[in-house]
Every structure is written in structure tokens, then in C-alpha cells.
Amino acid sequence: MEDIFTVREWVGELTQFIADNTIGKTSLSDYSELTANVMTESIMAVTVFGTIMGTILALLWIERKFFARIMDRRGATMALRSLWVGEGGEHVDWYDDLPFGTGKPIRWLNGFLNDTAGNASEYETVHRTKDRGYHGVWWMLPGLIQNVADGMKFMTKEWMVPAKADKFIFEVAPFIIITSTVMIFAFIPLSSNIFAANPELSLIFMMAIFGIAPLGVFFAGWSSNNKYTLLGGIRSAAQLTAYEIPLLVTVLSVAVIAGSFNIIEIAEFQMTSGVWNIFLLPLGAALFLTTMVAEVERIPFDMPEAEAELVEGWWTEYGGMRWGLMFASEYLRSYAACLLFAIFFLGGWEMPFGDSIVGIIPNQDLILGAIGAGLLGLAIGLRSEYPALLAPAPLVLMSVVPPTAWLLMKAWLMFAVFVWIRASLHRIRSDQILEFGWRWLLPLSLVNLAMAFWLRISVWQGGEWPLLIPVLITAIALILFVILGIDEDTSELEGRTRPYSVYTESKGPASPRSHE
């Protein structure tokens, strides 16, 4: 699929034009090309960082909302609804009390909201407010501004260093964590044209930087002069030995498949060879997901900050904006993990079902887009009174979605998986992750690496993959997943001395007296 958004070239032409017409007309004209290059690189770096920082709000929003949906709890939507619907479904006409009729627009808005999501709509509000399964209306994007409020709170808080802390290390540790986290994004391309830096061995460079932050965590934990932070820091270092090696071996398998250590080439190889890596290395995808959850220290692998036993783990003594930035860097690392998963295994910035899977239909973009858009239009048409004639409209939209948007959407989808994992699992122990890492993750990652070698050397003949291979691998992976996923035989388990489920015994009649 041709990338029509050649942003880097556009910026290059623009800066060259500017440089030619300013410096180029002075005695410093020799430097005009250099100036143009510097300007181009700066603009691209700002673009990448701006995109990442701007879209990280989506991550926080997904964390809030998706988590709240899974937990089935009332969120900010319910609080917002109280503006137009009071307790027990009563109307609150507070806007009528405003002077000079300034409440008129609010009254109009209230009427609209009541018609669409209030008492006057098809369901009764009283039932909705009592029923916690109802979460309000998604299009209000409630909770999005909460992050801004949190940030302002952090900024106004005092920065305190514990009296007996190792002050220098204590101050340096947040900088190590935050800077190394931001530096990761220098090597994550948002499309083949939008990236901040693209060295030849960007994969190795980036994975090295990814591993710096746990060192900062260890510094922070050791220097705080607190027993909880000390334990948290040591747990972080111990955890590092469990997941880092399987992670690197898994990443190596992706590099082997693509035959390159360059991230952009890895992504583009999936487009040119026609198959996303997740269909070739499903085991690698699972391993990468597991180790990345450990790398970004989320549940079930968040022992360094286990709040139940270690209060807040290694960052107990931190506060203020340094804590806020470290928390933000935590999410940035999650974002980087999601983006990397999308690039390594989900075809990067390629449109789903664009070129990769179906390589035989001519103009497949158009045909598949038309089918998708038709279904979308049908759905819209069934749902409301919009004429189905509007159906082709999304086709146009879909074909002009920039590749970066596809990448970000895939990353957000992955983050939803992260949130899902967090919502459904518990925290495991340090010794358990060490055992898991050495006894399961490492051998499996070696198997995965061997599989990648076999695929690259024996199966791939240049050009596109033979379609049979990914179909076969995916089918085997799905069958294994189902077999491993279904429950154990309960009758067999009952016979064991320590079954998974211990059944409660019902001892005798309700009471001895009832016998009499």
C-alpha cells in the first residue's frame, strides 16, 4: 500500500524552500542545506513527540472507561448526568434561577439532553440511575479533562526530599526514568515517513534504552532510606532478570523474520511480504505481550509497587510533579509497549486487510473498503433514519485515513488488552515471576526463535509468503489455545489430594435437635 502522506518529504521541501529564500540569499548560502536539515529534523521530532503526548490522553481515557465498564461501576458520566437529571430522576431547573436569562442556552441544552439521554428518552431514567449496568452516554467523553486536573494538582504540590535520603541519587533517579522513557519514542516510527530518528540498528538501541528505567527504579528505591522503597527497588531488579532475557530473545525473532534490526524495515517487511508477524509467530506475540506487561510493571507483574504490602513500593517517598512525571512515564512506557506490539506483530501502520492478507484481489482496498463501508452504512441505516445511500461515505474516509492513525488505533486496541489483563488478574509474587520467567518464558522464547529461523531460512523464498504457512500456523495456535483454555476435567481433579477447587462439605442435618 502506497503511503500518500510523505510528510517527511513535504517538510523537507518546505524547509529547503525557506532556507533557500532566507540564508541562501546571504553570504551564508553554503549552510542553507544544513539549516534546512536541522529544521526538518526538529520539526519531525516535535511532530512525533506532539503526537505521542497528545494521544496519550486516549490511553488514560481507555484505562478509566474500559476499566470502569469491566468493573461495572458508576463513573463521571453519572456525575455529569446529575446536571440535567437530579436524584431519583427529578428535573433540576437550576438554570432558571440565573439572572438576565443567561440560563436560556443551558435550558435549551438540557432539553436536548433530556430528549436524548434523560427522562424523555425511550427508557426511564429512574431505572437507569438505580441500575449500575448503565453508564451514561459515551459521546460526552466524560473523564477526559480529569487528567488535566490531576496534572495541575501535581504541579502545585510541594517537592520534599526525606531528611536521611541520599539526596543526589534521590534527585537523579526521576530524571533517569523520565528521560530514558521519552527517549524511547525517538526510535518508534509513526509511519515510514514520520519518525524522529532512524539509525540502522534502531531496534537494539531502543531495547537498550527500554532497559534503563528499571535501573532508575532501583536507584530511587535504594536512595529513599525507606524499607518499603528498598524492597520495591530490589524487587524491580530481581524482576528484571526474569523478563528481560525472554523479551530480547522474542524481539530477536522478529528481527530474524524481517532480516533487519531496523524498526521501519521490520514493519515494511510485513507489508511487502504480505503477512503480519502475529500469524507467523503467535507464540512470539504472546511472549512479547507477557514480557512487556512485566516490563511496564502493570498487574499481574507490578510487585515493585505492590500497594497492598509495600504501601506504594519504590516511589513511596516521591511526591509533587516528579511523581506526576514518573507516573506519566509509566503510561508512556505502556504506550511504547503497545506501539511496539503493533509494529512488530500487527503490521505497523498498514490498513487491516489492506495488502497483507489478501494479495490476489485487484484493487482489494476498494473492494474490501466498499464491503466494510456497506456494512457500516447498513448498521447506521438500521439504527436510525439515515438513508442507506450514505453508505459509500465511509469508503472515502477509510481510504484517506493516514497510516499513523491505523498504528495509533492498533496501539489503543493493545492498551485495551492491557487494561483487560489488569482488570481480571491478581498480582503474583516475586519468586513466582522468577520461576515463571526462567522455567517457562525463556525456553518458550528459544522455541519461538528457532521457529523464526526455520521460517526465514527454509520457508521464505523472497517476495511474499506462501499463504498456506500462516494459515496453518494460526490454525494450530488457535487449536492449542482452545485446548489449553478449556477447563480441566473436574471429576479427575476431585480424586487428587489437592484439587484446584475444594468443595465444601455439608455435614449432616441442620441441627442435632431436629432429630429429636
Binding site: R73, A423, D487, Y500
Partner: protein, 378 residues
């Protein structure tokens, strides 16, 4: 790493209240523990000596924030024993319903607090969602959501509200359905199993020696439930089973304690449904025979040297009130009151159970014993 003492508490996420657990650790391994209680000792026993018999109920409500109703009933039965009051059968049925609803609510808030201890917040919110239904029902009975002050000496505050049985049946059936969902999420999660199975072994004989009662000792295979062993109220007329776990040779672990409580919630719900069916009609919910003025005649009823007590199955174990009457001298007030708190005996044993396990197991073990510091410190 050298051995060091960590003082967990009084403000610590593990404590579920206000107490300190001093832990000696060698790296991540717990070597020694010292529980330090008494932070919120309010002297309830002493305060009650200066209150008349009816006013003590409000204080007993405040003994445990998670299970107020059971403590109020625990006192009421002891006071009725002292004053020699007989209760109409319908009032006993209403009391059983109130107590069992409170037991479900208490176990739900335990499960809700236990899961964040080992890292899952979803189960917490699910459990509070279900607890809300029990709260609504109890609110209909007592008019309040936390400290109900529902039982009276000789009966209950008021009869069941109109339509209560219908709403209670609907909500309890819904609860029985929904608890399966939470159970599936926990029981089928390997991470939950590896965190709870095999940690915090408590031997049944040791638990009996230390005086541990309730779900904790039933998790160790000891079939001792006051409602079954020494039936009071109408428990022997209802259809229910005692939840007893089949422990391993090493004793009861955290998972056994989790299982026994979940099963007990289910039995309590079934007991409530059964009580709603078997409840006699009429409006007699208060002591009417003989002297209606219980308090006015308490001088004659609670003579000097006369005592009243009652074993009661609280949500956390066997609670007991021991009342001594003062006759003419003390008037309407008891001469002395003593409270047996199940958690006061359980917490030292739970702290002993942690030795040899990891720091990460401390919440998984302590949380599974369901500590409530309000009643512990009294």
C-alpha cells in the same frame, strides 16, 4: 540482606483497620511477627455500665463497622437471657433474616477487601455492587445503612415493610446468580490460585487451642458453628447446611478460608429465602406477654449476682456477651458487661501463621482471616 524489622501500620493498606504488625524479614521472607493492638480501644464495656439496657444496643452496633447488626443481636440475646424475656416467633424469623443479610454483606465486603490485597480491583467493585442490594434491604428494616439499631429487647424495632419479602426474594436470587460470576473469575484464575493456595497454613488443632472460631476454624475442617452446635433463635427450623472445608494435611490455607466464606454466603441467602417462606403471619413482633415495661422492671428482673450470656455466631466467629445484673443498686444499668471478640483471639494466631512465608503473602494471609479492628479493640 540482613534481617530487619518493618512496622506495618497503624496506617498501612494491609491492616484493614488501625493496628500495627511488626514484621521481621530476612530479604523477602518473614522471620518473626508481633501484632500490636489497642489503637482504637474505646472502652465500650465500661461505657455500657453507665447506660441502661436499651441504650446499649446502639453501642454494640458500633463494635464492628462491617457487621453491625450481628453485634447488636449478640447483645440483645444476652440481655434477654438476663432479663428473662421471651420473644414472639415472628420476631425471631425477622431477626434471622436481618442477621443473615448482614452476614452476607459482611462476607461480601471481606471478599471485596481481600481481592485488592492481592491486586485485583474488579472483584472489589463487583462485591460492593452486590452488597448494595443487602444494604438496601437492611435499610428498609432499620432505616439506616450502617448502624441499624434494629433489634429490641423482646423483639425487633418494627415489622417487615410491605413488599419486603418480594424484594428480598428477588435480590437474594439475583445475588445467588451474581456471586457465581465473581467466583468464576477467582476460581478459574491460575494467578489467584497460586497466590492463595499453599500460603498461610493454619492447623485445626492449633486454631481450636488458640480460640479461633467461625469461618476460619471451619476452613480447617472443624465443624463448629454456634447456629448448628448450640441452636438459638429459629435456626434449627430452617433448611441450611454448615459450610465446612476439607483441608489438606498441613491445615487450612487462604484458599480454604475464601471457599468457606463464599459457600457461607450462599447458605445464608438460602436460609433467608427459607425463613421468608416459613415465617408465621401476624403482627406480633414484640414481647407482649407479662410485663410490657421491660426496662421499668429491670431492677427486679436483673437481680444482684444474676448473669446472662449468649453464644452468638458472628460473621467472624463466636461472639459472646456476658452481662451481670446489679439489682437495686444499679437500677436499669448492668453491673458489669464483658464482650468476647472472635477477632481478638484470631489476629495473634493469624500473625503467627505468616512466619516462613514471603512479604507478599502477608496481605494474602491476613486478609483471608477477615480482621475487624473495631470489635478487636472494643
Amino acid at each position: 540482606m540482613a534481617e530487619m524489622w518493618i512496622s506495618m501500620g497503624p496506617q498501612h493498606p494491609m491492616t484493614h483497620g488501625l493496628w500495627t504488625l511488626k514484621v521481621k524479614v530476612d530479604g523477602e521472607t518473614v522471620v518473626d511477627t508481633i501484632p500490636d493492638l489497642g489503637y482504637i480501644h474505646r472502652g465500650v464495656e465500661k461505657i455500657c455500665e453507665s447506660r441502661d439496657f436499651t441504650k446499649i444496643t446502639t453501642y454494640c452496633d458500633r463494635l464492628c463497622y462491617a457487621s453491625a447488626n450481628t453485634w447488636a443481636h449478640s447483645y440483645i440475646y444476652a440481655a434477654e437471657d438476663l432479663l428473662g424475656v421471651e420473644v414472639p416467633e415472628r420476631a425471631e424469623y425477622i431477626r434471622v433474616i436481618a442477621v443473615e443479610l448482614q452476614r452476607i454483606a459482611s462476607h461480601l465486603i471481606w471478599l471485596g477487601a481481600f481481592c485488592p490485597d492481592i491486586g485485583n480491583l474488579t472483584a472489589f467493585v463487583w462485591c460492593l455492587r452486590e452488597r448494595e442490594m443487602m444494604m438496601d434491604l437492611l435499610q428498609e428494616l432499620g432505616g439506616s445503612r450502617m448502624h441499624y439499631n434494629f433489634p429490641r429487647i423482646g423483639g425487633v424495632k418494627r415489622d417487615l415493610p410491605i413488599g419486603f419479602a418480594m424484594r428480598a426474594r428477588a435480590k437474594l436470587n439475583l445475588f445467588l446468580n451474581r456471586i457465581q460470576e465473581t467466583e468464576q473469575m477467582l476460581d478459574e484464575s491460575t494467578v489467584f490460585l497460586v497466590r492463595t493456595q499453599g500460603v498461610g497454613y493454619a492447623k485445626p488443632e492449633e486454631m481450636v487451642n488458640w480460640g479461633v472460631t467461625g469461618p476460619n476454624v471451619r476452613a480447617g475442617g472443624v465443624n463448629y458453628d454456634v447456629r448448628w452446635a448450640h441452636p438459638y433463635s429459629v435456626y434449627d427450623e430452617l433448611d441450611w447446611n454448615v459450610s465446612v472445608e476439607r483441608p489438606s494435611i498441613k491445615g487450612a490455607d487462604s484458599y480454604d478460608r475464601y471457599r468457606v466464606r463464599v459457600d457461607e454466603m450462599r447458605e445464608s441467602a438460602k436460609m433467608c429465602l427459607d425463613a421468608l417462606d416459613k415465617m408465621p403471619g401476624g403482627a406480633e413482633t414484640h414481647y407482649t406477654e407479662g410485663d410490657p415495661m421491660i426496662l421499668g422492671k429491670s431492677k427486679q428482673r436483673a437481680e444482684e449476682g444474676q448473669t446472662g450470656f449468649h453464644h452468638f455466631e458472628d460473621s467472624r466467629g463466636e461472639s459472646m456477651f456476658y452481662l451481670a445484673g446489679g439489682g437495686e443498686q444499679r437500677g436499669k444499668h448492668p453491673y458489669r458487661i464483658s464482650i468476647r471478640s472472635p477477632m481478638f483471639l484470631t489476629i495473634p494466631y493469624a500473625a503467627k501463621c505468616m512466619i516462613g512465608y514471603k512479604i507478599a503473602d502477608i496481605p494474602a494471609i491476613m486478609g483471608s482471616f477477615d480482621p475487624c479492628i473495631g470489635e478487636t479493640d472494643r
